[in-house]
């Protein structure tokens, strides 16, 4: 490793250092406020360090990682989202939870480390290590010190299904390694395209990798775990699963397919198109039946990942840009939505505020949070003037440009179905407060929790009405990457 490589890798090194420091801090002095504060500051520093790491050209850091515009963009999204989740977690945990709360931040940091490294990985080893660091930390977070039975259930489910999906992933990688004798994405691409005949080993390997990744991205038909885990996990962690892990896994799989597989393979494309269409329709249809907001958002996230696959299938510069913008929009919107759920919940009370009845009359009792949630839901539904509108527009642009008739049709149908359940929540919030609930308004959310939501709201509206700066940034980073 030379100096340039060290400089390019600095944000990740910094994140590892922050993790170790927080661990030592807990050992020396156990204090919730202090741990949370150092985690937040550490993540903030990593975010600030990212632009300085931007190398003039893609920099290879050991055979495992390449730091380029794409890596920095997606790692930036991961770090930014993790920062927001850390702040929301502090607001969430600061309430009444008894028992140790400090290790939560440690797990949050290790999960973030794994997630942040994935977009830069160009090798099966770093792919798997990053993913496992992320998943194993998440496992602890999902079941973290909660008096609720559902959290333990969700944790166990995630453990078993996550383990199964990792096994698929590993087996797939092993098959490809057995076939080609290399684990570097670029080498796989070169070798695979050198031989002309379809290679059964490799095809099965790719299918198994896709299965493993399908679990992590909760695409239909690998989505069964999603609603239970979204419901059982504490609300900020639900946000983490929905946003950070999805961004990281999507970024690595995008890189893998571009470098190693190429977009030409017809059978692979057909399979992906089928998964996309099933996810868009299935996610939206199942969401119609939900009376629990966290489960509803879980199904909606299945649909959103399906939408995202349209850009993935479209490939080309437009598709890659569209995916980047959509993921950014999805991150802002989902963080906002789960953040508001977290701020409305009291962690000690046995369950989060996740039933639709809990949201009745919210416009009267908590007007700011209700207004923000309304805009977040409109963004998920793809209505202006929000980022979700521009994002969906961008996806349709890429899909139409690539001539993907069926996926675009499914996207349109899915969006129309989606409107119904998002608007249901909106209407519930606008209804009168139910009489049986005690008239005293609940405690106001902590100021910094509201501040984070306000920040996300500003982003949502500003980049929803004037997206040019975001698109310029995407062109500068993701768009400038030569594959």
């Amino acid at each position: 490793m030379n100096g340039e490589a060290f400089a390019a890798f600095a944000p990740f090194t910094l994140l590892s250092a922050v993790t170790i420091m927080v661990m030592l801090l807990i050992a020396i002095h156990r204090n919730h406020h202090l741990t949370a504060l150092s985690t937040i500051i550490g993540l903030l520093l990593c975010c600030v360090a990212l632009p300085f790491a931007d190398p003039a050209s893609p920099t290879q850091v050991t055979p495992l990682f390449t730091i380029d515009g794409t890596a920095l963009f997606y790692s930036g999204l991961v770090l930014g989202s993790a920062l927001i989740i850390a702040i929301l977690s502090y607001a969430y945990l600061d309430g009444s939870t008894p028992g140790p709360r400090e290790e939560y931040y440690l797990l949050l940091l290790t999960a973030t480390l794994g997630a942040a490294l994935l977009p830069a990985s160009v090798h099966f080893a770093s792919f798997f290590l990053g993913l496992e660091t992320l998943s194993i930390s998440l496992l602890g977070l999902i079941a973290y010190a909660s008096p609720r039975g559902t959290a333990a259930e969700a944790g166990t489910k995630y453990l078993i299904l996550g383990g199964a999906s990792s096994a698929f992933l590993l087996f797939g990688m092993a098959l490809i390694y057995a076939d080609l004798g290399t684990m570097s994405f670029t080498r796989i691409g070169t070798l695979a395209h050198a031989g002309n005949q379809t290679d059964l080993y490799r095809l099965v390997g790719v299918a198994m990798i896709l299965t493993g990744v399908g679990f992590k991205l909760s695409l239909v038909p690998f989505h069964m775990w999603t609603p239970d885990i979204y419901e059982g996990a504490p609300a900020p962690i639900t946000g983490f699963v929905a946003v950070v892990s999805k961004i990281a896994v999507f970024a690595i799989i995008l890189r893998y397919f571009i470098l190693a597989e190429g977009p030409e393979d017809a059978s692979l494309r057909a399979g992906l198109a089928a998964i996309a269409i099933l996810s868009m329709l299935g996610g939206n249809l199942l969401a119609l039946l939900q009376n629990n907001v966290k489960r509803l958002l879980a199904y909606s996230s299945i649909a959103h990942l399906g939408y995202l696959l349209v850009a993935f299938l479209a490939a080309g510069p437009l598709g890659i840009e569209a995916a980047a913008y959509y993921l950014a929009a999805y991150a802002v919107t989902s963080l906002g939505a789960f953040g508001i759920v977290a701020l409305l919940s009291t962690p000690g009370s046995g369950r989060d505020a996740d039933r639709i009845e809990d949201y009745r009359g919210l416009f009267r009792t908590r007007p700011f949070l209700a207004g923000s949630l309304a805009l977040m839901l409109l963004s998920l539904a793809g209505m202006p003037p929000t980022m979700g509108f521009i994002g969906k527009f961008y996806l349709i642009v890429s899909g139409v440009g690539a001539g993907l008739f069926w996926p675009v049709a499914a996207l349109v149908i899915g969006s129309v179905i989606g409107l119904y359940y998002y608007l249901r929540v909106l209407v519930a919030m606008a209804m009168p407060v139910p009489a049986e609930r005690d008239a005293a308004p609940p405690d106001a959310a902590p100021l910094f929790g509201n501040a984070v939501i306000a920040l996300l709201l500003v982003l949502l509206l500003a980049l929803g009405t004037y997206p040019a700066p975001a698109i310029a940034l995407i062109r500068m980073t993701v768009g400038a990457t030569s594959w």
């Binding site: 202006p384 349109v412 119904y420 997206p467």
Partner: protein, 501 residues
């Protein structure tokens, strides 16, 4: 710049009204009145001739880069057609504020915010000449309208509001796909990516592609218009909406559909539109007759007015696809007259419901003796609605029939039957509600007649509809250059002879 202010004033007014709602329920009302008055003054100041004679008919333009990476600009252009429709929009919004003064007492700030934002969206639709910007406003007006219906509506409001949103959203996404395909076809031919309407106008398309793209646009606008068979959302939405919501829906939201057909469908796809004209005209005729027939069968007064809208907008569809000067002039007048007369009827139904708490005409009767002023206005607008000469609707329907006679004798003859059906339902309304035996409704004797604000609004609307009926020439003068340009762009080469008046 005044075009930007035209949009910003109601948008900012909405925010202010929302914020002020927490202080005093009257503040949002005054803020809404003030901002709409300012907006009206801005729009009135724009009345005048086009900037330059010749091929363009723009009175004012504004063009700023918006998303340059995707060839999207913030382009607003105003011609006479847009101006007339914007004036209608602002006036009807002002009226909506006045008539909601006593009806809406709940969440007043949010109500006026949504009202003003709907107005913003509609004005944007009438101004935008970048297809993406147009789509942006097209979607933008949907959400506040949804809230107006869902939050302040009547019994079945959630069902009606969701039906409204799903119909319009589904069709507009189809339009988005069509817009994008047009943009990509243009990119392949010209090499650059643009959403600019004027640049896309001359795009060469092969006939099959042109037809499908035209259909994509047509469906979105036909849903909004609404034309049979896309009309089923309208009676529900109208019936359940609060009075102001019905006025806005009938008065201006439906006009965006007609405007879209005029501005986009025919000029962008002249050949396909010409080929499609018989089908579209047939749908128009069916809407005229079917709407009238259904209106005739209603007991709910608001539903009757809603179905009469379907019938009236059928004339608009017929006129647009006849595509000659007479028919298009008729379309403009019909849109204005429908906005005024149907808006007025909805206001009267709303006022009636506030007094006797029902819209069911079986429970009414003999109201003339109790509330003569309201009943008299009701009769004036019912008669306007059936197309009595001397009132605005007559000019519109007459010109449309005159114009479409040149395009298709058969359709015109059948459509003329709609006038008879119109007379039937309009007179039935007057007969059942205002005449006959006194109402069996308890407490009918103590009803209060229209209050001074309502009287002022109604008086103004009566003057407007009479003015439009007796002297429509100023409107023709204002829209003529714009229509001429549209007609020139939308003229199908092979169809040129039949297009001449």
């Amino acid at each position: 710049m005044s075009l930007l202010w035209l949009l910003l004033v109601p948008a900012i007014g909405g925010l202010l009204a929302w914020a002020a709602g927490a202080r005093h329920p009257d503040w949002p009302r005054w803020i809404a009145l003030a901002t709409l008055t300012i907006d009206l003054l801005i729009a009135l100041a724009l009345i005048g001739p086009a900037m330059s004679s010749g091929q363009t008919a723009w009175i004012a333009s504004l063009d700023r880069p918006w998303i340059p990476q995707l060839g999207i600009s913030f382009e607003l252009d105003l011609d006479g057609l847009s101006l007339v429709l914007i004036l209608l929009t602002i006036v009807l919004s002002l009226i909506s504020v006045v008539i909601s003064w006593t009806e809406i007492t709940d969440r007043v700030g949010l109500f006026h915010a949504n009202l003003l934002w709907t107005t913003t969206g509609v004005i944007g639709v009438f101004l935008a000449l970048d297809l993406f910007l147009f789509f942006f406003f097209w979607e933008l007006m949907l959400v506040p309208m949804y809230f107006l219906i869902a939050l302040w509506g009547h019994e079945d409001r959630f069902y009606a509001a969701i039906k409204f949103v799903i119909f319009t959203q589904g069709s507009s996404l189809i339009m988005l796909v069509a817009i994008l395909m047009l943009v990509f076809v243009h990119q392949q031919a010209a090499g650059h990516f643009t959403f600019n309407y004027l640049t896309l106008l001359g795009t060469k398309l092969n006939p099959a592609m042109e037809f499908w793209l035209m259909l994509g646009f047509f469906i979105a606008f036909a849903v909004k218009l609404p034309a049979v068979p896309f009309h089923t959302w309208l009676p529900d939405a109208h019936t359940e909406a609060p009075t102001a919501g019905s006025v806005l829906l009938a008065g201006i939201l439906l006009k965006t559909g007609a405007y879209g057909l005029l501005r986009f469908v025919v000029p962008l796809f002249p050949d396909a539109a010409h080929e499609f004209a018989p089908i579209a005209m047939a749908l128009g005729v069916i809407s005229i007759l079917y709407g009238a027939l259904l209106a005739f069968g209603q007991n709910d007064m608001k539903r009757l007015v809603a179905y009469s809208s379907v019938s009236h907008m059928g004339f608009v569809l017929l006129g647009i696809f006849a595509w000659n000067t007479l028919a298009l002039q008729g379309v403009v007048i019909q849109m204005l007259a429908h906005g005024i007369s149907t808006g007025a009827l909805f206001i009267l139904v709303g006022a009636l419901q506030e007094r006797i708490h029902t819209r069911d005409m079986r429970l009414m009767g003999g109201l003339w003796g109790v509330i003569p002023r309201l009943s008299a206005f009701g009769m004036v607008f019912a008669i306007a609605s059936l197309g009595l000469p001397g009132l605005g609707n007559f000019i519109g329907e007459f010109l449309i029939l005159l114009g479409s006679f040149r395009a298709s004798v058969v359709f015109t003859v059948i459509a003329a039957g709609g006038l008879v059906a119109g007379a039937a339902y309009a007179l039935l309304l007057v007969q059942r509600a205002f005449h006959g035996r006194a109402s069996p409704h308890p407490g009918a004797a103590t009803l209060i007649d229209l209050t001074p604000p309502h009287l002022a609004v109604m008086g103004g609307l009566v003057l407007a509809i009479i003015g439009l009926g007796l002297y429509p020439q100023p409107v023709f003068d204002q829209v003529a250059p714009g229509l001429a340009v549209l007609q020139h762009e939308g003229a199908s080469p092979e169809a040129a002879p039949t297009m001449e008046p």
